[in-house]
């Protein structure tokens, strides 16, 4: 049996491919519905090429070899003899599943950068705005600014506009001129051009004018301050336009959640964009026997790449050969993903947007001045030290939102760059999701 964790594009593609080869597959996913974040939907998937999603849902749902356990949140995993036991919570009960082979496809979440007001109501990630709209049929607000950096801003802004929201600003901190750094990636991915045209048409239809080299650096009292940035992301104080809005949907690319693979001991490394990802071979096999990893966790690269990686992982787990054609498609998509990294980098100057009172760790309400104080007064030299002295990263989200930012703020103070070891240590946690002590205790006798 193969357990696939994650029912987004990578997980579904993996399950379908493995089942196609005759394998028994169980998909575990924490949502109520398939699709992950990319194909968030309540009734039907919408958006560019949404029929891909619908087709894959249909194949997976109808396949007799595939079971889909929804609303199943995996909190830990253990290697037991030659198999793996996956421990999860479903409907308030703890359960576990054992299988010889695991495919991890747990996706990614929006990367956030702090700025004054990012923790106030109305400020959210583009993923939140998208999830509210697609998953729950709710528009996040009336006057919305979409900003940050990355291609994700386009589908979010246009979907919100189509649903009736007024998009009062669309700002990308980077310039589209950066695409000129990646000519071969563009040539190898002409299929992306129709997608660009799709969004360009929608932007025009709703009168949304994207602006570049700009970011929201402050949000309060129903308006956002928009600043012009240089290539280091520093603001020049002259232009600080204020735009009345009730929502700022701001995102800075994505990062994968590596908790589960880390618990299983899969080797990790740091990608060019500073995210922690898994090392895999050409068959998507991790450093651990019988554990494959596909999608964002092997490198942020979007849904197209995730679908291909998922298929390769599924075929490989089933012991099936992977066609040259599929491998070539993956290479092309990987080149495109690298181009994305080059086109939408995050420069260090964001730390200059911070005020002393700006919240850095949202969960434990730790401010920028406390983080800096832990360095200058108490001798913290990295995120671990700052965490022990200020509690940053010890809250409910266990550092998912703030740890990387804490590292980079500390680094801006000490002048020492953030080590790979620190990035990896901050991204790993032995408890992947909260679980009650009662369930833990009861599970002892069950085991």
């Amino acid at each position: 049996m193969i357990i696939v964790i994650g029912a987004g594009p990578a997980g579904l593609a993996a399950a379908e491919a493995a089942a196609r080869c005759g394998e028994e597959v169980t998909i575990l996913d924490s949502s109520q519905r398939m699709g992950g974040q990319y194909w968030r939907h309540r009734l039907k998937v919408s958006g560019y090429k949404s029929e891909r999603g619908e087709e894959l849902f249909a194949k997976v749902s109808s396949h007799q070899n595939i079971s889909h356990l929804s609303s199943a949140t995996v909190w830990s995993a253990e290697a037991k003899n030659d198999e793996y036991q996956i421990n999860f919570l479903q409907a308030g009960i703890e359960k576990s599943l054992v299988a010889e082979k695991i495919i991890l496809a747990t996706g990614a979440f929006d990367r956030s950068l702090p700025f004054p007001g990012w923790d106030t109501p109305g400020a959210m990630t583009p993923g939140a705005a998208q999830s509210l709209l697609k998953g729950h049929g709710v528009i996040a607000g009336k006057r919305i600014i979409v900003c940050g950096t990355g291609p994700f801003l386009l589908p979010v802004a246009t979907a919100l506009a189509e649903a009736g929201a007024e998009i009062v600003g669309l700002f990308d901190a980077n310039s589209p001129m950066r695409w000129l750094l990646s000519p071969t990636a563009i040539f190898g991915n002409f299929a992306k051009i129709p997608e660009l045209i799709f969004y360009a048409r929608l932007l025009r239809k709703y009168g949304i004018k994207p602006e570049f080299g700009r970011a929201v650096v402050e949000f309060s009292n129903g308006s956002a301050s928009v600043a012009q940035l240089n290539s280091d992301f520093e603001t020049s104080d002259k232009e600080l336009r204020r735009i009345p809005c009730d929502v700022v949907a701001v995102g800075w690319g994505f990062q994968p959640d590596v908790s589960l693979g880390g618990i299983l001991g899969c080797a990790q490394k740091v990608d060019g964009d500073g995210t922690v990802i898994f090392s895999i071979d050409k068959n998507q096999l991790s450093s651990k026997r019988n554990i494959w990893i596909a999608g964002e966790a092997t490198g942020i690269g979007g849904a197209d790449l995730a679908l291909i990686e998922g298929e390769i992982a599924g075929l490989s787990a089933a012991g099936h050969a992977v066609s040259r054609k599929l491998l070539r498609k993956r290479s092309a998509k990987r080149r495109f993903a690298k181009a994305l990294q080059r086109s939408y980098p995050i420069a260090h100057g964001w730390t200059t947007w911070l005020k002393p009172t700006t919240t850095i760790c949202r969960c434990e309400e730790v401010s920028a001045s406390e983080i800096l104080g832990s360095v200058s007064e108490l001798g913290a030299e990295d995120a671990r030290g700052a965490k022990l002295f200020t509690r940053a990263g010890m809250g409910l989200c266990q550092g998912r939102i703030c740890a990387r930012n804490v590292s980079e703020i500390v680094s801006s103070q000490t002048g020492c760059s953030v080590s790979d070891q620190e990035r990896i240590a901050s991204s790993n946690r032995p408890i992947a999701a909260p679980i009650s002590l009662g369930l833990l205790a009861d599970g002892k006798s069950r085991n």
Binding site: L378, M394, L437, L440
Partner: protein, 380 residues
């Protein structure tokens, strides 16, 4: 700093306390650590300052004095590490005779105790299981935030003329005619006639470098941390199995129940002890056992969620006594290490013993039971 009077190796709570004590006695001290402040076991500590878990004897004497020195240190350095005389409640799950016997013996040796009948016990800890009917209150037990304590103490040392060198791994302990003359590190060589080895779980390595021997081994422990919860627990609460486990020489897993609330609202749950070297890997069975034990003492905790687990390696000496004193082979080399799970509580007391001995003045107790000489090899 040129020509310090003393080098302290280890910027955990034990090293920091030594450095402060020596600095306050007028010495110029350099603290060296291969990492930064609280990089070792102090960074994995709970903050226990206990007298309740110690059998009458030298360790209890040290613990009582050290506990009071913690409050003196707060006066000296400032109220910056959440020091609180929280009090400990030790409960007996089954037969309470051993607990009461120990408590009465401790009372004869300076420990304040209050035997608790069921109604007194449950008014101190209303959420304690009804099945527990016997316990002892130890008002002297206290709590601190150990990483903040180490950091603020080091800060005081530096502000009084000392210095701290981080990311300096000791590569050689330099000796001449069986006297220490300094240390060589990855950040340069430091010369001093006094070197204090406060490297905790790694103290044996430093001793080896000096041509000496300290049989200190890691004793692994896990701590569970919950989500922020309403205040369900008002003291440090633990069951009397804890005392037996601390005193056990068994290398196999020992677990006992230790539960307490914190200022931030989270609840800390321990305690496990295993001697499996420096294997830091996760063990979900132990996590479940600790959860089971904690919920059996406090059923209300069943609905509280576990958020994270961390682990550390206590420095364990085979005879369960810390190692505090001058090395038996190398003059000028002093050790303050091997405090097992009591490093935080015993840190200032150990520091005073060493400072007094270095200055040749009488101390608050005879430190011979802690002497490193007790490990001198038979054939040396």
């Amino acid at each position: 700093m040129q020509n310090p009077d003393a080098i302290v190796i280890g910027a955990g709570i034990v090293g920091a306390s030594c450095a402060l004590s020596l600095t306050n006695a007028g010495l110029r001290v350099i603290v060296i650590d291969r990492g930064s402040v609280a990089s070792g076991t102090t960074g994995a500590g709970e903050g226990n300052i206990l007298v309740s878990d110690k059998d009458p004897g030298p360790e209890l004497t040290l613990a009582l004095k050290s506990r009071d020195l913690w409050f003196e240190m707060q006066e000296d350095v400032g109220d910056s590490f959440e020091l609180e005389a929280k009090g400990g409640v030790v409960v007996a799950r089954r037969d309470d005779a051993p607990l009461m016997k120990l408590a009465r013996e401790q009372a004869e040796h300076g420990v304040t105790i209050q035997e608790l009948d069921p109604s007194a016990l449950h008014s101190l800890e209303p959420y304690l299981s009804d099945e527990i009917s016997s316990g002892v209150l130890y008002p002297q037990d206290a709590q601190c935030q150990p990483m903040l304590a180490a950091a603020h103490v080091i800060r005081a040392v530096v502000s009084r003329g000392g210095s701290m060198v981080s990311n300096a791994t000791v590569t050689r302990v330099l000796t001449l005619d069986s006297r220490v003359v300094g240390v060589e590190t990855t950040q340069g060589t430091f010369k001093a006639p006094l070197v204090i080895n406060a490297t905790g779980t790694w103290a044996g390595e430093i001793a080896e470098m000096a041509g000496s021997h300290l049989p200190i081994a890691p004793r692994k422990g896990f701590i569970l941390v919950t989500e922020p919860a309403p205040q369900y627990i008002f003291h440090k609460v633990y069951d009397s199995d804890y005392v037996a486990n601390v005193a056990s020489s068994d290398a196999d897993l020992q677990t006992s129940t230790v539960v307490e609330g914190t200022r931030s609202g989270t609840i800390l749950i321990g305690a496990s002890r295993e001697r499996i070297g420096f294997d830091g890997s996760m063990n979900y069975e132990i996590v479940r056992t600790l959860a089971e034990q904690a919920t059996s003492l406090f059923p209300i905790l069943r609905k509280v969620q576990l958020l994270r687990v961390y682990r550390g390696f206590r420095p364990y000496a085979p005879d369960h006594l810390p190692v505090v004193g001058e090395d038996s082979r190398i003059r000028g080399l002093w050790h303050s290490a091997g405090h097992e799970g009591a490093g935080i509580g015993l840190a200032p007391g150990s520091a005073h013993l060493i400072t007094d001995a270095i200055l040749g003045r009488e101390s608050f107790m005879d430190a011979t039971p802690f002497s490193p000489a007790r490990f001198a090899m038979v054939n040396s």
